[in-house]
């Protein structure tokens, strides 16, 4: 039988099988497994049946804990069920996993193995998650590449049904889950053939049903639990044989033979490496290369890690084995060795003891760690391990791939050593996220993979910044199977789709001699040379590169493609790489365009065709001069004045050389300095705002809305202007109380993302030409140097004394220095203005616990982070605990602060004889409700320290250490709607009920933004989201209303784009309220699907339509006899459709399913109006005074 060849990634390959052989998928998004659930959801929404003809039910849960519980229930109900997860998600499933295994319920779950967060979060791949569940009683089956991910998904499903041991099938996150490769696709008949129907019937027969009642989940006592637990042993003993039998059946059917342990290498090898996952593919490549050169080496690929078959393992080893290295892609601090190492040692010892080992003498065994968090693992590193095995005293418990200069665990390796296939094509493509490079490359792989006999592989490296994100595509094609599960460092084709990258990264470092270089260049073939940095010129000359340029932006503009240069660059790639005949390639590109974009409308196909046709006419080969002429080079990643830590640790990461940073450069506990984003100048804005100081009314709105704190205002003494740079702008300050001072609005030209929200927010228009505002966008390059100097000068001007300003007034509080700057958030982000405002209001006393999500990524992803400090060195302190626990984490922070404050106050009382009664009393009774109050308390604390100087009692020492806790701290838990409405809701609710002074800020984008727009319970009725393919049929949860029911929680709903004053008021009141508070903030988001320059307009429309009513519920008002609920917006004046149909998340349903859209719109409109009435009613309710009950008539007798 011939099977279809498809070019897909590991997630899709796995989901394809999992979907077809299950009835229920209980899912929850987590990187890098989310796409598996998304595929299942999409197929189910499209009505695609499984192999038995029914459409699987896909249900999104509130957390992985929920998903695993639903899985448990579905299995007990007799369904074939699965889930997809990774990392912390898998850990949340552990309790259910014990139950499922304990009940011998057959199931297979699929894990794209990912690093568990420790000192830091990482979304990338290693085995720390799967190794954390190896004790649960689940079988662990590892696949190493995309083909195996598909095959093992089926093998696991067949084996679990037969063995009744539940299976966890895993593959490496990103390296396999996201690698696109050409594989042979299993047919539905293959799946049917592999899964005997009698086993399914047996599973169903075990289901809970009142027709044949049983009881599971008993509670057992010391007398019997132990014995009962041992009863499952026969199943585990039988399991490995069952798996091997299934693998043999699979081989017969499909032709690919797998074993529990697959040996590859010389039959008489003396050195063997044992490992699993994608690293085994790399080792495979190295072993083939070295054995062909006579080396006596081999590898054992571990397939079935649990249950571990000692017998099968020993059988796999050559009898000649003298030395074994076991490589673990995980770390267990404190253990004798990592899990696979320990198992191998145990297996060898047991095998020798029982005489089943193929050799008589115990081989030398060493263990090592590699590849944590998708750290590159290359043939050079595998070779280094083999070399180490050959050493007389090989290092045990080593690491490979890093430079451990602290505990010296690392092995040296030769980075230039390469086993790359000389017949293979290797291309590197540097693009911008927004220019479509990745999409085009995925198309190219499909074209080459599916239209030629070549094997194909694609892997994509993304940026950790969202604005101006860089992507690097690694593409391999060739006549031989590709085992290269590592990045390309020896490329024969390099394309740079953005000219500005040449100045930022060494894009040609990986180019091999004679390689081809394609550059998207504004400069033509005659003039481009002198615009290249010296390093680039040197590479081109020394490596004798063939050099081509195309002005892709010009072609894109002429063909109505905007900034999408992908098909243009793709056409050039095919034209000069020669992988396919030129005409055939163009034909295939057009077919791919039609297939990929056809359903988006004819206009899209046409313009892409036009771009393809126009591309080649603009492609030119450059005649390369023979000498370096350039007067400039790649910019240093950070300026020389950056602090030492930034220079040593962060600068190489910025330059793309993070792999070279040694262990000693890192804090051992994950503690990093703040205020580092200022050193990373990314220069990503094409245009920046320019201030018209004559027109400006100095309202501060632009400063408030700026997502990246790149436009700022200061009021200052005129004397500062004496040393101002010549182009520094200023105007007389328009404040009554500062009328003799100057005002400047300054842009940080190298940090601005060019989102233009500030221009949108500007309320002033010129009287002679209304399009001219007090802020206007202008091209950045000509302004860059001048404004850089101005910005530096601006920063030197001191901030206004906070005591002189009114925090409640936007005009005033926008003179407060933001202590959150230059984050990696999307251009135009709707979340960051709230965080920035929070830091302006309370930044110097702010403690943040942050849920995982967008705000933790732009808040804490290396290389540089945005929380920063004021001129006193004070600023927010920040930590991301987990996704689900932020409210509780913040509560813990609060309790710690409270205890320290209490102790400090006790010490003040104890030491009042030293401090002085007056100061002690002032410290204890200080009113810290204002900036002035806090300022004065800080002065008292300074005085206190002076008084305590030299006093060497325990109390005095303690008070000196804790004195700062006498100053009020502002504790905030921050997170998105995924946290607040779903996974963290239980904890959030508990903290609101605690009565403690914890503030919670919910950045509500109405979807899981960070993981790609999956539905949350905050997703509105009628909106399309992932997992809500047909538009969400249920209304958004009214979290505010739920919080209000406590009565003693401060609750506000805000939208700064509609009313910034109300947002400010809400944050101030929340902080002032002596109890828990929650502020739910409307955040426009890229996941809503419109140009975010209209974010403020959409916020207005959301409020005007009544969709997002603004209000504040302040329980403190009850004491004044007032209704605590105050509505801050008016009754709906805008039909809901005028708001929602500006957004793709709604409009795409109107296109795809107009009838459903209409029905949902009507329901949504009705819900909006009804809810408004509810709020109105609540806000108008008279406040019942407590005495009214006593004064009432308990008998209830009427008419008296």
């Amino acid at each position: 039988m011939t099977r279809k060849k498809v070019t897909i990634d590991g997630n899709e390959a796995t989901a394809y099988v999992a979907y077809h052989v299950n009835e229920v998928c209980a899912i929850y998004p987590i990187t890098p497994s989310s796409p598996m659930g998304e595929w299942a959801d999409e197929w189910a929404a499209k009505g695609i049946p499984n192999i038995w003809g029914t459409v699987p039910k896909v249900v999104e849960m509130q957390s992985e804990g929920g998903a695993s519980a639903a899985l448990h229930g579905a299995l007990q109900g007799g369904a074939l069920a699965t889930t997809f997860t990774a990392a912390q998600g898998l850990l949340l499933m552990i309790p259910s996993m014990y139950k499922i295994a304990g009940e011998l319920s057959p199931a297979t779950i699929h894990v794209s193995a990912r690093t568990v967060a420790t000192h830091a979060l990482s979304i990338f791949g290693d085995h720390s998650d799967v190794m954390a569940v190896r004790q649960t009683g689940w079988a662990l089956l590892a696949s190493n590449c995309v083909q195996e991910a598909q095959d093992f998904a089926l093998i696991a499903q067949a084996a679990t049904l037969e063995s009744r041991v539940p299976f966890l099938h895993f593959f490496d996150g990103f390296r396999t889950s996201h690698e696109v490769a050409k594989i042979e696709q299993l047919t539905l008949d293959d799946m049917r053939a592999m899964i005997p129907e009698e086993l399914i019937r047996a599973h169903r027969a075990r289901a809970m049903t009142p027709d044949k009642p049983v009881l599971r989940g008993t509670a057992q006592n010391p007398d019997v639990f132990f014995q009962a637990r041992e009863a499952c042993n026969p199943y585990y003993l039988a399991c490995p044989t069952i798996v091997q039998n299934v693998m043999d059946r699979f081989a017969k059917l499909v032709g690919r033979q797998y074993h529990l342990f697959d040996y590859l290498g010389a039959p008489d090898a003396d050195r063997v490496i044992v490992l699993m996952g994608s690293g085994a593919e790399v080792a495979h490549e190295l072993v083939e290369y070295m054995t062909a050169r006579g080396e006596k080496i081999g590898i054992v690929k571990v397939r079935l890690f649990r249950p571990f078959s000692t017998e099968a393992f020993l059988k796999a080893l050559p009898p000649t084995t003298k030395a074994i290295a076991v490589l673990d892609r995980t770390k267990e601090p404190g253990a004798i060795g990592e899990p696979l190492y320990q198992d191998v040692v145990t297996a060898l010892v047991e095998g020798l003891n029982s005489g089943v080992a193929p050799f008589e003498k115990m081989p030398r065994v060493i263990g090592g760690r590699y590849g944590l968090s998708s750290k590159e693992f290359t043939p050079a590193m595998v070779k280094a391990v083999f070399d180490e095995l050959a050493a007389e005293r090989p290092k045990n418990h080593f690491t490979i791939g890093i430079n451990d200069d602290v505990t010296h665990t690392s092995l040296p390796y030769d980075p230039d050593f390469s086993t790359e296939d000389p017949q293979a094509f290797r291309g590197l493509f540097f693009g911008l996220g927004a220019d479509g490079t990745v999409s085009a490359n995925k198309n190219s792989i499909k074209i080459i993979g599916e239209e030629t006999d070549n094997y194909a592989q694609g892997y994509f490296v993304y940026d950790s910044k969202k604005a101006g994100a860089v992507t690097i595509s690694h593409l391999r094609f060739g006549p031989n199977p590709i085992h290269s599960s590592y990045l390309i460092t020896k490329a024969n084709f390099v394309a740079c789709h953005q000219f500005s990258f040449l100045e930022r990264f060494d894009v040609l470092e990986a180019a091999m001699p004679g390689a081809t270089f394609l550059l998207n260049s504004y400069y033509g073939p005659e003039e481009v040379w002198d615009h290249l940095p010296r390093t680039v010129q040197r590479h081109i000359i020394e490596k004798k590169l063939r050099f081509y340029v195309i002005d892709a932006y010009k072609v894109a503009a002429e063909t109505d493609m905007g900034s999408r240069i992908n098909t243009i660059m793709q056409t050039c790639f095919f034209a000069i790489s020669g992988i396919l005949p030129r005409d055939e390639a163009i034909q295939k590109i057009k077919e791919a365009i039609e297939k990929t974009w056809g359903k988006r409308g004819e206009a899209i196909v046409k313009k892409n065709f036009a771009a393809v046709d126009a591309a080649l006419a603009h492609l030119h080969e450059v005649k390369v001069p023979d000498r370096i002429t350039s007067t400039f080079d790649i910019r240093p990643p950070v300026p020389p004045e950056a602090p030492e830590f930034v220079q040593r640790t962060l600068a190489p990461i910025i330059a793309g050389k993070g792999d070279t940073v040694p262990v000693s450069a890192f804090p051992p506990d994950g503690t990093f300095p703040t205020a580092t984003s200022q050193w990373e100048k990314r220069n990503i804005a094409l245009e920046i705002p320019v201030w018209d100081e004559q027109l400006c009314i100095q309202c501060g709105k632009c400063v408030l809305v700026c997502p990246h704190a790149t436009i700022r205002a200061k009021v200052y003494d005129a004397k500062w202007l004496e040393s101002a740079p010549p182009t520094f702008k200023h105007a007389p300050a328009r404040w009554r109380e500062f009328k003799d001072m100057k005002y400047t609005l300054q842009v940080a030209p190298e940090d601005c993302t060019g989102c233009a929200l500030c221009v949108e927010a500007c309320p002033v228009k010129s009287k002679t030409e209304v399009k001219h505002k007090a802020l206007n966008m202008a091209p950045q390059p000509p302004l860059r140097e001048q404004e850089r100097v101005n910005w530096e000068f601006f920063l030197k001007i001191p901030d206004m004394d906070r005591r002189l300003l009114s925090p409640a007034q936007v005009k005033d509080n926008q003179l407060f220095r933001p202590l959150f700057e230059f984050s990696g958030a999307c251009a135009g982000c709707g979340e960051t203005p709230y965080i920035k405002l929070l830091t302006q209001l309370f930044g110097d006393r702010l403690v943040i616990g942050n849920a995982t999500g967008c705000s933790s990524i732009y808040g804490g992803n290396l290389p540089t982070t945005p929380y920063c400090v004021d001129h006193n060195g004070r600023g927010p302190t920040w930590n991301n605990s987990l996704f689900e626990d932020t409210a509780e984490f913040a509560l813990g922070l609060r309790l710690a602060i409270n205890q320290q404050t209490e102790y400090a106050r006790w010490l003040v009382r104890q030491l009042s004889h030293i401090i002085g009664d007056e100061l002690a009393a002032a410290l204890l009774e200080a009113d810290q409700s204002t900036e002035k109050g806090i300022y004065e308390q800080r002065e008292r604390v300074a005085l206190l320290r002076q008084k305590l100087e030299g006093v060497e009692t325990r109390e005095a020492r303690d008070l000196r250490a804790l004195a700062d806790s006498l100053v009020r701290k502002s504790v905030w838990g921050i997170g998105g709607d995924g946290w607040a409405y779903d996974i963290g809701y239980g904890g959030l609710d508990h903290v609101l009920a605690s009565g403690e002074k914890v503030n919670l800020l919910v950045l509500d984008t109405e979807v899981y933004s960070n993981t790609g727009g999956q539905m949350s319970k905050a997703t509105p009725l009628g909106a399309v989201a992932k997992f809500a393919f047909g538009g969400k049929p249920q209304p958004k949860k009214d979290l505010a209303m739920m919080a209000m029911t406590y009565g003693n929680v401060y609750v506000a709903r805000v939208a700064f784009g509609f009313n910034d004053m109300q947002t400010v008021k809400a944050l101030l009141e929340a902080e002032a309220y002596e109890g828990p508070s929650i502020v739910i903030a409307y955040c426009h988001c890229i996941a809503h699907g419109y140009d975010l320059v209209h974010g403020l307009d959409q916020q207005k429309a959301a409020v005007q339509s009544g969709y997002w009513p603004l209000f504040r519920y302040n329980p403190a008002l009850l004491k004044e006899g007032k209704n605590p609920l105050q509505l801050d917006s008016k009754a709906p004046t805008l039909p809901l459709e005028k708001y929602i149909y500006n957004e793709t998340r709604y409009s795409m349903l109107r296109h795809s399913n107009p009838e459903a859209a209409k029905r949902l719109l009507e329901a949504a409109q009705e819900a909006v109006l009804r809810r408004w009435k509810q709020y109105e009613y609540l806000a108008a309710m008279p406040v019942a005074a407590p005495e009214s009950v006593a004064a009432g008539n308990p008998g209830g007798k009427e008419g008296e």
Partner: protein, 332 residues
Amino acid sequence: MDLTTTYLGLHLKNPVVISASPLSEEIDNIRRMEDAGAAAVVLHSLFEEQLTLESQELDRRLSETTGVFAEALSYFPDMTTYNLGPEGYLEHIRKAKAAVSIPVIASLNAVSSGAWIRFAKSIEEAGADALELNIFTLQTDPTVTSGQIEDAYCELVRQVAGTVRIPVSVKLTPYFTAMANMARRLQQAGARGLVLFNRLYQPDFDLEALEVKHTLQLSTPYESLLRLHWVAILYGRVNVDLAVTGGFHGGTDVIKAMMAGAKVAQVASAVLKNGIPHVGRILEEMRTWMQEHEYESVRQMQGSMSQRSVANPNAFLRANYMKVLSSYSLRA
């Protein structure tokens, strides 16, 4: 009493036709129009430019958010279809035809000549009884002459009329310098009917926000005068069916249109304002008037007050102030 008329070769039970408006986007509304007595319905327009813009907008949003971040390879599910071609409109024609027995006239506004022809063919295949070409290009290029614009109109009509078998009418703007000549040229190009006149989008200013406001005001009966004027002039001068649209709100407005020489009066604003049953009231008012004035049929009155049928043809030719002066002089 005989209210019947013919328009574009279609036999209509009366001269009240619903003109293109958002109301016809709902099949239910079209049914109710028939129930209220409307003789035919012109569907809302198929706008090629809108399809293109929607395509581009969707494509932009889906593309710019795809393949950008490691954790979010995309933000939206991939739908089976987005209906961004004319299919939705064609399906609407089919549904309308199945729902009502009155003629269904499609309306088309395209940009490229290829699309005009392709869409016109599809519309015919979908079962429309006639096609109204809603030609609207606002030429702002000062180098383009009126002659070039007129030529383009005629060429377009020639191509479409030469492609489809169903009758084609053209909805015109009132801004032709040589309206009568233009009417004749369109007739020669193959138009079977002219609809006078398109109500053009007129931007307003928001003085607080200093922004251009997008407004679409409902028509007022005053606007009907311009239409009456031109129908009266063109009647008998060109051999096409004339239709009026814009400001015809009541039964007497329709009667005036008939007397000027129109075959039908298209109504929209009055129905948008007063609801679909208003069609019945228009017809009732017509009947009452005709009864009171002893008219037997609509045909009888059609053209009875056209320029060539009135006592003083000059009444249609003088400008306003001339008339005023002459009135003064008469009194004197």
